[in-house]
C-alpha cells in the first residue's frame, strides 16, 4: 500500500512535468497558455482493446490518479476494432493493440507516434524493446516493429505487456515429454482432442514451426513464410483438419479456458494466463516448454491520429508503465516491459512470476506453496524465442489459404 501512495505522489509530480514539457516543446494544437489551462481535467480518454487490458478497475484507478476528466473503455477483439478504426471511427483516443497489427495502421496513418520524451516511465524499459536480439533478423522482432523513427525517439505503440506462448495441456492425460513440442498439436495420438487458435497469423506460424521439427519444411522465420511455404503449411493443416485432428478451433481467452477446463480439448496452443485460469478452477493444467522455442508477442497502446485528447493518451500510456496495472497483468501470467516492476511488486511474488522461484505463502488460484511457474524465469524464456509475431509479407495469400483451411 505504501508503495502505491509513494507512487501516486511520484506520478503527480511527473504529470506536471509532462505539462511543463508540453509548454517548452510547444507541441500540440493549443497555444502554450491554453495548454496549461486545458489540463488533463478537461480531457477524456476513450480506449478500446482486449478485455485483458481494458479493465474497469484499471481505468478507474487511472482516472483517479491522473485527473483525466472522463475515462471510458470498450472491450473487443482485434479484428473487429481494427475494422472499426480503419473504417474511420472517431469514437476512440487510443487502441490497446498487438505488435503485428501495426503495419496496417501506420500505412493508413490511422495512428500517430508517441514521443518517448513524453513518457516519464520509459527509462526502465527492457532491452528487447530497444535493440534487436541475436539470432532473429531485426525487423522480425518487437524492437523492429514499434519504433516510428531510426533514432528510436517515437513509438507507434507503447508496449504494456508481453509474453512467450507455447502449448497448454492437461497433465493428467498428456505427459510433459509429449507436450513439450509444437508438433504435439498435430500428433495423431491426440486426434480429436486438440485445439488450434483461429487467428491465421498465429496458426500458420505454429504449423510451420511444427513442420520444421518434423523435417517437412526448413523455414528460418516461421512468422514470415514464403508463398510456397504457406502452400505446404496449408496442405498440412487441411490434411490434419480433414483427418479430425482438432476438437475445436478456439478464438479468444474465455473460449480457450472453457474448452480446456470442460475436457473438450486436452492439448492446445495456449496463453499462459489461460492455463493459470484453468488451474484456478481446480483443474490440472500445465504449460509446455517447447523444444522449438516460444512464439513471442507484445501488446501496447497506440494513439489514434485524430484524437483531440493527445495528453490523456500519453498519460494513460505512462500510467501503464508506472506500476499498478503491471502488477495486475503480471499476476495473470504476462510480463511487464519495464524493469520497474521489480521495485513495486512484493519480492516473493516477483520471485515466483519473474525469477522462477517457488511460490511462498497461502495458496492462490490453484497455485500452492512450493509450486514453480511453468517454463521457468523470464530470462530463461526470453532466451528461447522461436519467432515474434509479425505481419507476413505474403499476407494476402496466407488469408486465402486460411479460408481454404476453414472451409475444408
Amino acid at each position: 500500500m505504501s508503495n502505491l501512495s509513494i507512487n501516486r505522489r511520484k506520478f503527480l509530480a511527473r504529470t506536471s512535468a509532462l505539462g511543463a514539457a508540453g509548454l517548452v516543446g510547444g507541441r500540440g494544437l493549443l497555444g502554450s497558455q491554453q495548454a496549461f489551462a486545458a489540463a488533463l481535467g478537461d480531457l477524456e480518454l476513450r480506449t478500446v482493446g482486449l478485455s485483458v487490458t481494458v479493465q474497469e478497475r484499471i481505468l478507474n484507478d487511472f482516472k483517479e490518479r491522473s485527473g483525466v476528466g472522463a475515462v471510458s473503455g470498450k472491450a473487443d477483439i482485434y479484428p473487429n476494432t481494427q475494422t472499426e478504426l480503419l473504417s474511420g471511427s472517431r469514437a476512440y483516443d487510443c487502441w490497446e493493440t498487438i505488435g503485428e497489427r501495426l503495419p496496417a495502421m501506420t500505412f493508413t496513418n490511422t495512428i500517430a507516434p508517441i514521443d518517448t520524451g513524453d513518457l516519464s516511465n520509459w527509462s526502465d524499459i527492457r532491452e528487447i524493446f530497444l535493440a534487436p536480439q541475436d539470432g532473429i533478423s531485426p525487423e522480425a522482432q518487437i524492437s523492429g516493429q514499434i519504433w516510428a523513427d531510426d533514432a528510436k525517439t517515437k513509438l507507434w505503440m507503447v508496449p504494456t505487456f508481453f509474453n512467450f506462448d507455447s502449448v497448454g495441456y492437461r497433465p493428467d492425460l498428456v505427459s510433459a515429454e509429449e507436450a513439450n513440442t509444437w508438433t504435439s498439436i498435430f500428433d495423431e495420438k491426440f486426434k480429436g482432442k486438440t485445439g488450434l487458435n483461429v487467428d491465421p497469423l498465429i496458426a500458420f506460424g505454429q504449423a510451420v514451426l511444427a513442420m520444421n521439427a518434423l523435417g517437412l519444411l526448413e523455414v528460418p522465420n516461421p512468422g514470415n513464410p514464403s508463398i510456397e511455404e504457406i502452400d505446404e503449411a496449408a496442405k498440412f493443416l487441411i490434411a490434419k483438419k480433414k483427418a479430425g485432428q482438432f476438437r475445436a478451433l478456439w478464438g479468444d481467452f474465455g473460449e480457450l479456458v472453457n474448452l480446456l477446463a470442460s475436457g473438450e480439448m486436452i492439448l492446445a496452443d495456449a496463453w499462459q494466463p489461460a492455463v493459470m485460469a484453468v488451474k484456478a478452477q481446480g483443474i490440472e493444467c500445465s504449460y509446455a516448454v517447447p523444444r522449438e522455442g516460444y512464439r513471442a508477442w507484445s501488446i501496447g497502446i497506440s494513439m489514434i491520429a485524430e484524437t483531440p485528447n493527445e495528453a490523456a493518451v500519453k498519460a494513460y500510456a505512462d500510467y501503464w508503465l508506472s506500476g499498478p496495472p503491471l502488477i495486475t497483468v503480471s499476476e495473470q501470467g504476462y510480463y511487464s516491459p519495464t524493469q520497474k516492476i521489480k521495485d513495486i511488486m512484493p519480492a516473493e511474488k516477483y520471485g515466483f512470476w519473474y525469477e522462477g522461484q517457488p511460490w511462498v505463502g497461502a495458496p492462490e488460484r490453484g497455485i500452492k506453496e512450493g509450486d514453480l511457474r511453468d517454463g521457468g524465469s523470464l530470462a530463461e524464456r526470453s532466451g528461447q524465442v522461436a519467432y515474434w509475431h509479425q505481419w507476413p509479407a505474403e499476407y494476402d495469400h496466407l488469408i486465402q489459404k486460411w479460408d481454404e483451411f476453414l472451409s475444408a
Binding site: P79, T108, V198, A248, G251, S262, D396, Q400, D403, S407
Partner: protein, 303 residues
C-alpha cells in the same frame, strides 16, 4: 359502425367521401413513402457503398478506390468458395425442413386447439422468451449440454446406455443443426400459428357436415389456408440461416464454415472488397430463394 356513421353530419360525410376518393387513389403513395424513404437511405445507400467497395483494389495493408474486378474473379476462380456456398445451401435445406416438420404440429396445436386468445398469446410468448437471453449465452449453454463431459453424456452414462462419451454431439455439423433448429424454429411456428388461428371455424364445420374426415379437412382446408404462414415462416428461417455465422462457428468449434463466416473472417482480415463480393452473392442467393418460395404462394396475390 352505425354509431360512427350517424355521428358524421351529412355535409361532412360528402366532403369526406370526396377526399377519401382522392386519398384512396393516391393513398398507397402516402403509405409507402416512409418505408421506401427509410430503406433507400439506410439500406440502398450503405449497400450501394459495399457493391462499390467490391470493385476496390485491395492491397496487403489498405484498400483504395481504384476499380478492379479482381475480387470477383477470385471468388469464381476458387473451389473453396463454391464449396462453402454448397455447404451453406445444404445446411439451409436441412434446417428449413426440420423447422417446418418440428414446428408445424405445435403451430397447429396453438392455432387450432387452443381457443382462448390469451392462452394462445401466452404460449407463443413462452416460445419467444428463450430469445430474450442473448444468443451468445444460449450458444454457450449448449456446450455443457452436448459436450464430452456434458449433461447428455453424463445422463446416458449413468443410465448405463453408453460406456464412452458420444463425441459427435458437439463441434460437428450435427450440433450446428441442433442449435439452429432450436434457435429458428420459433420463427416458423409464429407465422403459421397466426394464420391457423385466423381460419374461419365455419369452413371447417361445413366440411365436417359434408362428411369429410379429419385428415381430409386438414389436407384440403386447414393446410392450404395456413400456407401463407408457412411461406412467411420459411422466408424468415431462410434469410436467417443463410446469413448465419455465429451459431455455426460456436457450435462447430469454428470448423463448419458458411458463407456468412467467410464474410466475417474477410472483414476481420481487412479484405473488405472480397467480403463485399461474398455478401452480394449471398444476397442474390437469398433473393432467389425468396422468389422461389413466393412461387409456391404469392403473398401479394388477392390483395
Amino acid at each position: 359502425m352505425d354509431a360512427t356513421a350517424a355521428a358524421v353530419p351529412e355535409a361532412e360525410r360528402r366532403r369526406n367521401r370526396a377526399s377519401a376518393g382522392l386519398l384512396r387513389r393516391n393513398r398507397h403513395l402516402l403509405l409507402l413513402a416512409p418505408g421506401v424513404i427509410w430503406m433507400v437511405l439506410f439500406l440502398i445507400v450503405p449497400l450501394g457503398m459495399m457493391v462499390y467497395v467490391s470493385f476496390w483494389t485491395q492491397t496487403t495493408f489498405s484498400i483504395s478506390s481504384d476499380l478492379t474486378t479482381k475480387s470477383w474473379e477470385t471468388f469464381f476462380a476458387s473451389e473453396t468458395y463454391f464449396a462453402a456456398l454448397m455447404r451453406t445451401l445444404r445446411l439451409w435445406l436441412i434446417v428449413l425442413a426440420l423447422t417446418f416438420v418440428i414446428g408445424y404440429p405445435t403451430a397447429l396445436f396453438i392455432g387450432q386447439y387452443v381457443t382462448n386468445k390469451t392462452t394462445q398469446t401466452v404460449l407463443l410468448v413462452a416460445c419467444v422468451i428463450p430469445f430474450w437471453t442473448s444468443f451468445l449465452i444460449r450458444v454457450l449453454a449448449w456446450r455443457p449440454m452436448l459436450g464430452r463431459e456434458g449433461a447428455v453424456n453424463i445422463v446416458l452414462e449413468k443410465l448405463g446406455l453408453i460406456s464412452q462419451p458420444i463425441e459427435v454431439l458437439l463441434f460437428t455439423e450435427l450440433s450446428v443443426i441442433i442449435g439452429m433448429v432450436q434457435i429458428y424454429v420459433v420463427f416458423m411456428v409464429g407465422p403459421i400459428a397466426f394464420m391457423l388461428a385466423r381460419i374461419d371455424q365455419s369452413l371447417i364445420e361445413a366440411a365436417r357436415d359434408l362428411g369429410a374426415s379429419s385428415w381430409t379437412i386438414f389436407r384440403r382446408v386447414i393446410f392450404p389456408l395456413s400456407l401463407p404462414g408457412v411461406i412467411v415462416g420459411a422466408i424468415f428461417v431462410s434469410v436467417m440461416v443463410l446469413g448465419e455465422f455465429a451459431t455455426a462457428s460456436a457450435l462447430s468449434g469454428r470448423k463448419v464454415n458458411l458463407l456468412g463466416n467467410i464474410i466475417v473472417t474477410q472483414v476481420g482480415s481487412l479484405k473488405w472488397a472480397f467480403a463485399a463480393v461474398v455478401g452480394v452473392i449471398l444476397t442474390i442467393v437469398m433473393a432467389a430463394v425468396i422468389t422461389a418460395l413466393l412461387r409456391v404462394v404469392n403473398l401479394r396475390r388477392e390483395l
